[in-house]
């Protein structure tokens, strides 16, 4: 592959941004990229990024599938809050918060509630035909209220070793949270790329009516992706609440729907539906997580944090856009009209 083709790849600029952020952080703090073994597990900047990005990756994976059907799910942050609230209230109320059975039961309840939200969202979009942005807006606003009702407006704090493992535990030296996200990523990739599901989702996104006429059960597919999206958000909610061992209904997953959509877009999936890229979403999630972490490491002044984030995101999106890419290519050709230019 020649350099031009690599530079034209839609993940080229996101990856450049990722590498630049890592290099800048490493220059500021040379120990950043060092991975050491501490207390029997890996420790270091890259491990932190993997662990931190798990929450966003889970949410963004579900979002990718929804967006591929031309939809959008704004309720993911609220679902995270609900998941944490349900699970932790149940653990806190149980006589034995440290027991594995208690934790599993609490998580099962929370997952059931999250699935119900997903079914509701899917019903509104697929059956009733309400626009996705409106349909999911209902739970985006109401969901946090429901979570607050469950926790009684308080931050519910628990002590439970099995639940803490989800975000802070390590298995084979690797963070459990990252392993969970990797597992979900693997399963999603298998289901969409090794079965017909991926093609069906894309066909529904490209043209729902045509796919229906061609015998694709568009309604079922759309309904399914909203349920999957809620389920993934629920797992993300577990990790987030386990991270601080508290259900903070006001702040858990606040604005994560926007970060998730951004991760999907940076990954090259079009908001117009159709073709989607799970690898792209993975890269997008890593870029955003690294960006957040590097702000602390680079010591960006508090007042400039939002601006710094915005500048990086704008730069990546601009460089990725077809118009800018085309301009850059034609200028390069004009500046150096060498006949040796090799076609891809």
């Amino acid at each position: 592959m020649n350099l031009g083709a690599i530079a034209r790849h839609r993940l080229f600029w996101p990856l450049v941004a990722l590498v630049l952020l890592l290099v800048a952080s490493a220059l500021k703090s040379p120990a950043f990229l060092e991975v050491t073994v501490r207390d029997g597990h890996l420790f270091g900047g890259p491990v932190d990024i993997l662990r931190r990005s798990s929450v966003l990756l889970l949410v963004a994976l579900g979002m990718t599938l929804v967006i591929a059907t031309r939809g959008i799910d704004l309720s993911v942050g609220a679902v995270m809050a609900i998941a944490g609230a349900v699970a932790l209230s149940q653990i806190a109320a149980s006589p034995d918060p440290g027991a594995l059975s208690t934790v599993l039961l609490a998580m099962a309840t929370a997952l059931a509630v999250a699935l119900a939200v997903g079914v509701f969202n899917g019903f509104l979009v697929a059956v009733v035909g309400i626009q996705p942005i409106v349909a999911t807006l209902i739970f985006m606003t109401a969901g946090r209220g429901i979570a607050m009702l469950i926790t009684g407006g308080q931050i519910t704090t628990v002590t439970s070793a099995p639940y803490k493992t989800i975000a802070s535990g390590y298995w084979l030296g690797l963070p459990v949270a990252a392993l969970i996200a990797a597992f979900v990523f693997g399963v999603t990739a298998l289901l969409t790329r090794r079965t017909a599901l991926g093609v069906l989702i894309e066909s529904v996104g490209i043209n729902p009516s045509a796919s229906r006429l061609a015998g694709v059960r568009a309604r079922t597919i759309i309904w399914t992706v909203y349920v999957i999206c809620a389920a993934f958000a629920c797992i993300a909610g577990f990790i987030k609440s386990s991270d601080i061992m508290a259900a903070d209904s006001n702040n858990a997953g606040l604005f994560i729907e926007l970060d998730a959509i951004l991760a999907v877009v940076i990954g090259g999936t079009s908001l117009a539906g159709g073709k989607f890229s799970l690898t792209g979403t993975l890269v997008g999630s890593l870029v955003i997580t690294t960006l957040t972490l590097s702000i602390t490491i680079l010591g960006i002044p508090v007042n400039a944090v939002s601006l710094f984030k915005a500048l990086v995101v704008i730069a990546v999106c601009l460089l990725q856009s077809p118009v800018v890419q085309h301009r850059m290519r034609s200028r390069r050709r004009r500046v150096a009209p060498v006949p040796v230019e090799v076609p891809a």
């Binding site: 607050m148 508290a246 006001n250 957040t292 602390t296």
Partner: protein, 336 residues
């Protein structure tokens, strides 16, 4: 394929559900969920009618603050309290205050969400001759005649007390301090930073090597602390603007294989239950309290004004400070 009748019914059901949902949103969004809407007007017997607009229910501190006010301004104590929760939105608070003015309450008290933008509505209250009392947070109005008094903690003083303790107890040798700031631009974040810097200025041993916002939440406190631990291998002290961020920092420090309270010392402000528990467990080293129990003081102020007396324009509440031993002793009897 779903049958047409089912679809029509489903549609009707959804529309009904939507309408309900929107109605619910509307009522909570209006910011006026008064607990006692039936008795409008200030002449309900001998009771003093007080309209109180709370910021929201964002933290354990706030919950304790709300409870203190609701438990003190009771009918038994001679008050008729109209309480509303603004859900951290200024427009909700302004709306709530307007409705209190319309109802003709005797007094209005509120904790302003933000510092600016209150002149118009406070002017309306003044025109209606309703005295206004600020609790916990201040407004930046130049015209101080718009409110009778501002009761609450002195945030600068809190930061100063933390700074003095750090300087006296830990600053005997060179130490590196990292700061977890509150929400950017909020009065407590600005003042607590200021107070700490003032108090440690004279001690060359105390060096603030990094400062970043953790938004007063545990999750962000933890994320920022993880970054600090990566960037600065030699952190000695964490100064968190509230307990919740300090608790987040504890998690991050433990994950990095260090012992909070020993390898890295933690000082914070608030004194909420989880914070005090961590202090008594030795994971936090020093907490300056920010007293949320403003109810009794508020009741005293109103009674004084009612009997024709005057109050100071600024009333600072009494805040305690706790080290680990004091926390262990105080914990069993703490109200929040």
């Amino acid at each position: 394929m779903v049958s047409r009748t089912f679809r029509t019914r489903a549609m009707a059901a959804t529309v009904a559900a939507l309408a309900l949902g929107l109605a619910a949103c509307g009522s909570s969004g209006s910011g006026d969920s008064s607990t006692d809407a039936a008795s409008g007007g200030g002449d309900s017997g001998d009771l003093i009618t007080v309209g109180f607009s709370q910021v929201g229910a964002e933290s354990g501190w706030r919950a304790a603050n709300t409870k203190s006010i609701q438990d003190t301004l009771t009918k038994d104590n001679g008050f008729d309290l109209k309480f509303s929760d603004a859900q951290q939105k200024q427009e909700n608070q302004i709306q709530a205050i307007r409705s209190y003015i319309a109802q003709g309450v005797d007094y209005i008290a509120f904790s302003p969400v933000v510092e600016s933008g209150w002149d118009a509505v406070l002017e309306e209250a003044k025109q209606a001759n309703i005295p206004v009392i600020l609790t916990d947070r201040a407004v930046d109005s130049e015209d101080t005649s718009l409110y009778k008094t501002f009761i609450g903690s002195d945030f600068v003083e809190e930061g100063k007390r933390i700074g003095e303790w750090v300087s006296d107890n830990l600053g005997t040798e060179p130490i590196n301090v990292v700061e977890l700031q509150g929400t950017t631009g909020s009065a407590p974040a600005i003042d607590r930073k200021q107070g700490f810097e003032d108090a440690t200025k004279g001690n060359p041993n105390v060096k603030i090597i990094a400062s970043q916002t953790g938004n007063f939440t545990r999750a962000e406190g933890k994320t920022v602390m993880e970054g600090f631990l990566q960037a600065y291998p030699d952190i000695d002290v964490v100064y968190a603007h509230n307990d919740d961020m300090g608790l987040g920092a504890i998690e991050a420090i433990e994950a990095a294989g260090k012992v909070p309270g020993k390898d890295i010392k933690i000082v914070s402000i608030d004194g909420v239950k989880d914070g005090m528990t961590a202090l008594s467990e030795g994971k936090i080293n020093y907490i300056v309290e920010c007293n949320p129990l403003l109810g009794p003081d508020l009741a005293d102020i109103i009674k004084t004004l009612q009997s024709g007396g005057t109050v100071e324009p600024r009333i600072v509440t009494h805040d305690d400070a706790f080290d680990q031993a004091a926390a262990t002793a105080a914990l069993p009897t703490r109200q929040y």
